[in-house]
């Protein structure tokens, strides 16, 4: 894919390639960070860190081990989750609880205004999970909760949550076009 070629050129210090890469991945990176972090100003900060890290660490990308887009989004997700956790630890818990009260995580997917194709497809596949699989996966991925917090919120044993997460991810794989 295009991002792979660009990232390799970026690793060689190519500023033009970075601008192109930015055009290609800033939307996915910013959108993902914002989904997890929620606060717009903080989301911008985290997205900026991630995008700069792409420039700095492009040489770490190994095309033989996965796609660039996947590498980039995995990095962005990790940074976003770290940020939302420290924000929570810093005392935003109440505010967040109010925001979340009675809102199943899945609705966050549905609340997006724009009906993009990929969004519809992911949503459709999430819809095919069992409720517990879906909630376990989305509370962790979209809301940045640890599996212990997820277990607490869903009143499930830890082992069950771990299994639901695994089953949920595997079933997503099947639905989202696992065929070569």
């Amino acid at each position: 894919m295009e991002a792979d070629r660009l990232l390799i050129r970026v690793a060689g210090g190519d500023h033009m390639a970075f601008e192109e890469l930015y055009a290609l991945v800033s939307g996915p990176v910013f959108g993902l960070v914002k989904r997890v972090v929620r606060d717009p100003a903080q989301s911008e900060e985290v997205a900026q860190e991630v995008l700069l890290e792409l420039w700095r660490s492009a040489a770490r990308f190994d095309p033989g081990r996965g796609s660039a887009l996947s590498w980039i989004l995995t990095l962005a997700h990790r940074r976003a989750v770290d940020r939302v956790r420290s924000a929570r630890a810093a005392g935003e818990r109440e505010q967040r609880e109010a925001l979340r009260a009675g809102t199943p995580a899945f609705d966050h997917v549905a609340e997006e205004v724009e009906a993009g194709l990929e969004r519809e497809w992911v949503r459709r596949c999430l819809d095919r999970l069992t409720a517990l699989q879906r909630e376990s996966v989305t509370l962790a991925y979209y809301d940045g909760y640890t599996y212990r917090e997820v277990a607490e919120r869903l009143s499930l044993p830890l082992g069950t949550v771990k299994t639901r997460m695994r089953d949920g991810l595997t079933r997503l794989r099947e639905c989202l076009g696992g065929v070569a």
């Binding site: 800033s26 959108g31 190994d62 991925y141 949550v161 065929v179």
Partner: protein, 268 residues
């Protein structure tokens, strides 16, 4: 600690691959699991596969980044030094590919890579994402209305209970992605990497059927998902050819890429 306890602790660690792939471990546990990952090949392979799955969840979240962000990042980049290529130490999580060699690599050469290439496993959805990102850049009211119409058509295909996805790839790594419903006789088709056409040439999509001439489904635009209608169940594959501007009644060149439809429910 008894051996049994140690084994039990290890078994417990094995079960953390999925939460780890979702970034759902808290700091200490994450560190402990990453240490375990370095020595447990089973978990390392597990984490790689599950992380590919987790990242699919990101595809539905894209949103245009604020314009000011672009200025800040591009400005910062001008004064930010890059890490040298060999700096692949353990600073980022191992499942962020490329940040750390796989544990097994230092020991013996493997017959084949542990990874299923992302592009193979998930290309259809990735293509769809790439296609839509491209569309988002600069669009007028008119284009927006057309996109909404297309989005509705596409949503209709996706909503079909039998909708399935598949991907075809040519020798140069360019791809065709399709999400099709045999019951609806419809498919969403995306091309990726075929944007280097001369101005007087177009890509035309054909439906291939046994004992019948190729049926034109329409002209393709590289960065726009295309909705094809009227696919009959006997169809065996989709093919894309390069044709003169405006298209042809029948293909005049060899297909640049072809995709069998069997895996998406056609070809009875």
């Amino acid at each position: 600690m008894s051996l049994l306890d140690r084994l039990r602790g290890r078994a417990d660690l094995h079960s953390l691959a999925a939460p780890y792939a979702l970034d759902a471990l808290e700091g200490n546990e994450r560190a402990r699991f990453e240490k375990h990952l370095a020595g447990c090949e089973r978990c390392a392979a597990d984490v790689r596969a599950l992380s590919e799955d987790a990242v699919r969840l990101a595809w539905s979240t894209a949103a245009p980044a604020p314009a000011a962000l672009r200025d800040r990042v591009l400005t910062a980049v001008r004064t930010t030094p890059q890490e040298p290529a060999r700096a692949r130490e353990n600073r980022l999580p191992p499942h962020v590919w490329g940040t750390q060699p796989p544990p097994a690599r230092s020991r013996a050469p493997r017959p084949r890579p542990l990874f299923v290439p992302f592009a193979t496993a998930t290309a259809a959805a990735a293509l769809v994402v790439a296609a839509l990102f491209a569309v988002q850049a600069n669009r007028s009211e008119q284009q927006l209305a057309a996109e909404r119409d297309r989005a509705r058509e596409i949503a209709h295909v996706l909503a079909a209970p039998d909708a399935r996805a598949a991907t075809g790839r040519d020798a140069e790594g360019r791809t065709i992605g399709v999400i099709a419903s045999a019951s609806e006789g419809r498919a969403v088709v995306t091309l990726n990497g075929y944007d280097d056409l001369p101005g007087d040439r177009v890509h035309q999509l054909w439906l291939m059927r046994p004992q019948a001439q190729p049926l034109s489904l329409g002209l393709l635009d590289d960065d726009t998902p295309f909705v094809a209608n009227g696919l009959d169940r006997a169809a065996t594959s989709l093919a894309v050819t390069v044709e003169p501007d405006g298209g042809s009644a029948q293909p005049t060149t060899q297909p640049v890429v072809q995709l069998a439809l069997e895996s998406v429910g056609f070809g009875e």
